[in-house]
């Protein structure tokens, strides 16, 4: 049964979609059947794997409102072993349409149960908000990857997110586990990057991935080209970082649950 990973952050621009896209590509490059699920109406993850939103006829919205089977919303992406369920603007309406439905928090989980057997990894890219869609994603997930941009404000939003996750775990998904906190946009030349990374490792210990994603122009540019960086420059630092992250997640998965070292 495929492992469902939710990439979550309350703050925009922290490398969430970049992580979803490039981590998906990293899993796929290891011949793991991978499904990227775009839960953000901005549809950036969809574009990041080569989907043209204008040509789409079926998206995650159609599956969530019940007009299309989830299987029919799956599209081929830009790499072998990689598929995507895209999203675009109309996904904003999903929130309003789901709000009055019974079991509204578990709709995505129920939909994915029909297809998770087909994949080794299912990656959920979420919007930067505490929305019903975010709750659905966390309720559907087995583990969470939390990108933490190496800046002060991002650290503040991490606390809010952790509190939110605690509520979701308590009320909706007791099996939800933290795969890890991922340090992103790390700049070796910036004092604040060192401060955040040192502090996170000291307090959160093994809850922080060993892998660090550096600030990278190449990663930013790749998303604009509709391809994961791995397909453009597999030897680049950014591409290698995500391969390393994929390996680390696989290793952590073998340990099943993460306990904070003391």
């Amino acid at each position: 049964m495929g492992h469902i990973i939710c990439i979550a952050s309350l703050k925009g621009g922290v490398g969430k979609t970049t992580t979803a896209v490039n981590l998906s590509a990293a899993f796929a490059s290891g011949q793991n059947r991978t499904l990227l699920i775009d839960c953000d109406p901005q549809g950036s993850a969809s574009m990041g794997v080569g989907i043209s939103k204008k040509k789409l006829t079926r998206t995650l919205y159609d599956a969530l409102v019940g007009t299309t089977p989830i299987e029919d919303t799956v599209h081929d992406a830009c790499a072998e072993f990689l598929e995507v369920i895209p999203a675009r603007g109309e996904f904003f309406r999903a929130e309003l349409e789901l709000i009055s439905k019974p079991g509204k928090e578990r709709m995505l989980r129920n939909l994915l149960s029909n297809i998770r057997n087909r994949y080794d990894y299912l990656i959920l890219d979420t919007p930067p908000s505490l929305s019903l869609i975010s709750i659905n994603a966390m309720t559907a997930a087995d583990t969470l990857v939390i990108p933490l941009q190496c800046e002060y404000l991002a650290y503040e939003s991490l606390i809010q997110l952790l509190r939110f996750i605690r509520l979701v775990k308590k009320n909706l998904n007791p099996n939800l586990k933290l795969a890890g906190v991922l340090l992103t946009m790390y700049d070796m030349g910036e004092k604040v990057s060192h401060q955040i990374a040192d502090n996170a490792r000291r307090h959160l210990k093994n809850a922080v991935f060993k892998t660090i994603i550096p600030r990278s122009v190449q990663l930013r540019e790749a998303s604009g080209l509709g391809k994961p960086l791995m397909l453009i420059d597999p030897d680049s630092v950014g591409a290698r970082s995500y391969l390393e992250l994929a390996r680390e997640i696989v290793e952590r998965g073998k340990n099943k649950s993460l306990k904070l070292e003391t």
Binding site: Y155, L158, L178
Partner: protein, 107 residues
């Protein structure tokens, strides 16, 4: 007014009821609720102080009061004037790190 029951017996029964409610409380959960309600991190175990039976939204409920240990401080200068807090980024990061650690530890 005609007395129809022993006052002391009623008081004792009420006190016993409150004592039993106190024993049944899940203090770990309540600590969590208080932290979430008031957006604070409680540094020690909480203790239940008093309890009383009240009417809330047309039903009989138990109002329990707790004593919590909080470490708080204020700054004042040589003239005795209050100095508002001005966290350095390092102090902010340290506080946030501690908060995150506490939450992750209990997840």
């Amino acid at each position: 007014m005609t007395k129809v029951a022993n006052t002391q017996a009623i008081e004792k029964a009420t006190n016993d009821l409150i004592e039993n409610v106190k024993k049944a409380l899940n203090l770990k959960e309540i600590k969590q609720i208080l932290e979430d309600q008031h957006n604070l991190e409680i540094s020690d175990d909480i203790e239940v102080n008093n309890g009383e039976v009240i009417i809330h939204n047309n039903q009989i409920v138990y109002k329990m009061e707790f004593e919590v240990l909080l470490s708080l401080s204020v700054l004042l200068d040589g003239q005795g004037d209050y100095i508002p807090p001005e966290d350095t980024p390092e102090e902010s990061i340290e506080q946030l790190g501690s908060q995150a650690e506490d939450i992750v530890r209990h997840m």
